[in-house]
Amino acid sequence: MSIHVKIVGTSEFISGYLAVELRRFKDLSVSTYCKNLTEPVEQIIEGSPDVLILDMYQDGPAALALADRVVEQVPEAKILILGIDDYHHGPSAVDAGARGHVWIKKSATELRSIIENIRQGQIVCPNEEEIREMSKQVLEGRRPPSPLSKRHLRCLTLIAKGYTNKEIVRELKCRPFTVKEHIRTILKVLKVGSRYEAADLARKHRWIKAG
């Protein structure tokens, strides 16, 4: 018996090619539905798919909200959320009523077995260790060398989070003067005019974590 998988997303390019990749498994019957994620639930679950894949492409919050709406109306719906840029959305996906979360870097074979598990009623969500491994793969493994010292980068990470000087002093356990000095050096080295520009530049070059 074949498993009916319906892929719902906003990008026909991404969802469409995901379907192409999944169709090579003869026991999956794959359809796609690409529209706004604010469509009525009846449209989304039409054809009563065994597993519904929602992709978070471009609009993660809308995908989570949609999962919530579907489960409210059809509690037995089996939803698998496909994480596109955010590999750490697993817990919020399950919170929204999805049965699982899978990252777009997984292989088709892995996705195939996750679909099977979800159809059987399991919950599939990456655990913390796996999430750490994924973030390492994405960020740490390829963080390029920066012209700033570790201490400066630590300071810049806090600036990127929106910390004030006072809060940075508390976090780094140093004197207010030192923080000002750090920031002055950072601006000079990076040749930018403001702390926010410095933070953006560092995130762009991936010297510090994004977000």
Binding site: T10, S11, E12, F13, I14, S15, G16, Y17, L18, A19, V20, E21, L22, R24, C34, N36, L37, T38, Y57, Q58, D59, G60, P61, A62, I84, D85, I104, K105, K106, S107, A108, L111, R142, P144, G162, G193, S194, Y196, E197, D200, R203, K204, H205, R206, A210, G211
Partner: protein, 203 residues
């Protein structure tokens, strides 16, 4: 028989891209020659084996797309470069100015992709209109998103007003409304919030 069109793909979403490669492999008119999501690796692989068309994601990691297009066009003038899934007017203009041959919008189903590749290979350009924004993006008006894009570039209200041909006060009022809608205080937090919500692209 004609030699197949050689396609290189630079894209980080390896799962759907595997589907694209499968589609290309199944068509004798095309030959996929490589996939990568690292700018340095892409360059090395293109030097080792030339391609006719490069399909490239809208925000390749660690590089500015228009700049990368410009550099690639200098090095490989014959290479046709097609970004995929562009979603902002400014980004599209910059890529076009840098020498891209067109783009593949995110609402393009797989069945339409090969015809676009054929047309571009024959020397045509492909610049359809940008697809409609997502639901979350519609929280803000297009003008507010435009203003926020400038704020993200660290421009002052006065500079933004000059660029958009509106008064500084209008920009200020719009910024107030943006912050109210996003429920944040401060322009930098508004930009961060918009990035998290996917209204602005991630850095």
């Amino acid at each position: 028989m004609k030699t197949p069109i050689r396609i290189f793909v630079h894209h980080r979403h390896s799962l759907p891209i595997a589907g694209l490669i499968r589609q290309l492999e199944g068509d004798p008119r095309f030959r996929p020659i490589g996939v990568s999501d690292d700018a340095g690796e892409t360059l090395r692989m293109l030097v080792a084996q030339p391609a006719d068309i490069l399909l490239i994601e809208p925000r390749p990691r660690g590089v500015h797309l228009p700049e990368m297009i410009r550099k690639l066009k200098e090095k490989f003038p014959e290479l046709k470069i097609l970004p995929t899934e562009l979603d902002r007017e400014k980004h599209l203009r910059d890529c076009r100015a840098a020498g891209a041959s067109g783009y593949v919008p995110h609402n393009t189903p797989p069945v339409m992709v090969l015809p676009i590749l054929l047309r571009v290979h024959q020397g045509e350009e492909y610049w359809p209109k940008l697809p409609r924004a997502s639901a979350t993006r519609r929280i803000l008006t297009p003008r507010q998103i435009e203003i926020l894009e400038h704020v993200a570039e660290h421009e002052s209200n006065r500079e933004i007003g000059e660029k958009l041909g509106i008064s500084e006060l209008t920009v200020k009022t719009q910024m107030h409304e943006i912050q109210e809608k996003l429920a944040v205080e401060g322009r930098h937090r508004a930009v961060d919030c918009a990035r998290i919500l996917g209204i602005l692209p991630p850095l």
